[in-house]
Amino acid sequence: MILVGVKIMPRKEVLDSQGRATMKTLGHHEIALNDCRVGKYVELKFDKETKEEALSKSKEIAELILFNPLVETFELEVKEL
């Protein structure tokens, strides 16, 4: 079994309002950060595919549904279970 993790983050050029709000709230608790960005992590489990097949399918899935290229980027990481 192959587990592929899809990390979806807001594009650097786009205002990450969730990240900014998180920083502001931490500021109220006297915690100062250089930056904070909020994204999403999606796990895809493949039964019969090889590592390469799983990665290739995950890229398709990400492009089909998981991320919006206008405002997000994605990265894949793979694990053999």
Binding site: E13, V14, L15, S17, Q18, A21, K40, L64, I65, L66, F67, N68, L70, V71
Partner: protein, 208 residues
Amino acid sequence: MIGVVRFLGTNCDQDIWKAVESSGKTPSWLWYQDQFNYKDYESIIIPGGFSYGDYVRTGALAAKTPVMDSVREAAKYGVPIMGICNGFQILCESGLLPGVLVKNNNLRFIDKWVELKGENSCESWGGKMQSCNLPIAHGEGCFFTHEEELKQIEDQQQVWLRYKENPNGSLNDIAGVMNKEKNVAGLMPHPERALFDWMGGSDGAKFF
């Protein structure tokens, strides 16, 4: 017949049905799992709500359902299509309208009446419009796109409506947008909630 699309989680479907009926036309349901023949419909409306609970990204899952394949075809053949609120988000995710709607800049849901300016007229939906008052109710209504596309939208007269006072951070105060051919239009405000004076205003009636 006016096709009214429904997804799991669409909330404003009955409201659109009533609005179409009150304009003297005949509405008909378009279920998300089924494709349809665009020739059977004089126009199509995608109502607001929380399709798929806004899971993954608002409008993302709805955009990939079978009914949207037919909507895409209908758009290609010039059938007038209007997306309201979540409907607008779904049209953007489907690639039928430029841009994307992201979270309001104050990160909260906003419900209030807003004043809108008619920028370029949309013959299919409402025609010439100076200004109007419509209610908004959304958590992700901030219109965004990259600089080049924004310039293109402006230059090609695709901006349909603008907020007089921007409530959510939308670029260029854009409240509604059209495709280049001007048959597909999307807006964040809800015209179906402003049909009669007792609703708080009747500027929405001209959209139907």
